[in-house]
């Protein structure tokens, strides 16, 4: 009976504990308002106070979003190291993958054109002249065979 009770308590507590955010992670995602670096890189008095507040809220098991919202309410959106995924801020999230996609497209087109040009070159002879006419080539083979014979 006692074992079943302990198991039930553990099943309730473990997911709750897992839901608590990590203070160190949060410190890497928030900016110190006075020195403009992330909190984990700052030892400024303002940063120390915010870190202390984060640890207190983490101990109370406030969610990551709750803690961030509370800090944004006091320091504004500039306290977030990454811009929020809404409104005009989306441009910051969309531009890099769009740039990578555009670059990949350009490189693909260039590689395709280059390989096609190489294919055309391959059928030309080493002097860059077009291949022989098939009839002429057959005639040449016959003549060479006569010399070999």
């Amino acid at each position: 009976m006692r074992f079943v009770l302990a198991l039930a308590v553990a099943l309730v507590l473990v997911p709750a504990a897992a839901a608590c955010p990590n203070a160190a992670d949060l410190e890497g995602e928030l900016i110190c308002p006075t020195c403009k670096t992330t909190l984990d890189q700052s030892d400024a008095p303002a940063a120390r106070r915010i870190k202390s507040l984060i640890r207190q809220r983490v101990a109370e098991c406030a969610s990551e979003q709750q803690i961030k919202d509370e800090l944004v309410a006091q320091f504004g959106p500039a306290v977030l190291a990454a811009p929020p995924k809404k409104g005009f801020h989306w441009i910051v999230w969309l531009l890099p993958p769009m740039g990578i996609l555009a670059a990949a497209t350009v490189i693909s087109v260039l590689v395709w054109r280059w390989s096609r040009a190489r294919g055309d070159e391959a059928v030309a002879d080493s002097n860059g002249r077009p291949p022989l006419d098939p009839e002429l080539e057959r005639r040449l083979d016959r003549e060479l065979a006569r010399f070999d014979g």
Binding site: P33, T34, R48, R49, I50, F75, A78
Partner: protein, 186 residues
């Protein structure tokens, strides 16, 4: 066809570079210069306006609400040690001159609201206090740190150079009191 495509790509690339350059020029040209450097050059710029949440009571407060009265905006934060040390002098100046219309206005910047309220209570600050957590006024006034104290004449213009560091400090105290007299007389 390929030639046209190449020209179009070059035009797009040039337009992008020109756009980025224009953005840079616009940013530099419209960058607001804080009030402090102007004061340092001997100018008397208008005190930058602000409309902020009150810290000492509910509601908001504008600097414009004190137009026609001499104002001493003092920028502070609860995590700043000299701010604690200068608070008694600011409080005594406020009590001494408020009958003559002087307003000492505490502007709490880059701070946690709860910490700031506790600090004000502990240091018995009875003058009006506003809260600027994001620190927007730091750029407007050209602050380099806290504490810093400015002087706004009845005309709404900043006069006298700002006092950097605590007003209670040797070398600052006399200048602070002279500047208070100057705004009271202006």
């Amino acid at each position: 066809m390929a030639g046209r495509l190449k020209v179009a790509a070059q035009v797009v690339a040039l337009a992008l570079v020109a756009g980025l350059f224009a953005l840079l020029v616009w940013k530099v040209a419209t960058q607001e210069e804080g009030a402090a450097p102007k004061l340092g050059r001997g100018e008397t710029p208008a005190a930058p306006a602000f409309h902020l949440d009150r810290l000492d009571r509910p509601g908001k407060l504008s600097l414009a609400a004190y137009r026609g009265r001499p104002v001493v905006p003092n920028f502070w934060a609860s995590w700043c040690v000299p701010c604690k040390q200068e608070a008694p002098l600011l409080e005594s100046v406020w009590r001494r001159y408020r009958d003559r219309g002087l307003v000492v206005l505490g502007v709490d910047i880059n701070d946690l609201r709860g910490d700031a309220r506790r600090f004000a209570r502990q240091n018995k600050m009875s003058y009006p206090l506003v809260y600027d957590g994001p620190g927007k006024t730091t750029t407007q006034y050209g602050l380099t740190g806290v504490p810093e104290t400015f002087f706004v004449a009845r005309s709404g213009k900043l006069v006298c150079d700002r006092v950097e560091a605590g007003v209670h400090l040797e070398g600052n105290k006399e200048r602070f009191e002279d500047c208070v007299e100057e705004v009271l007389g202006a």
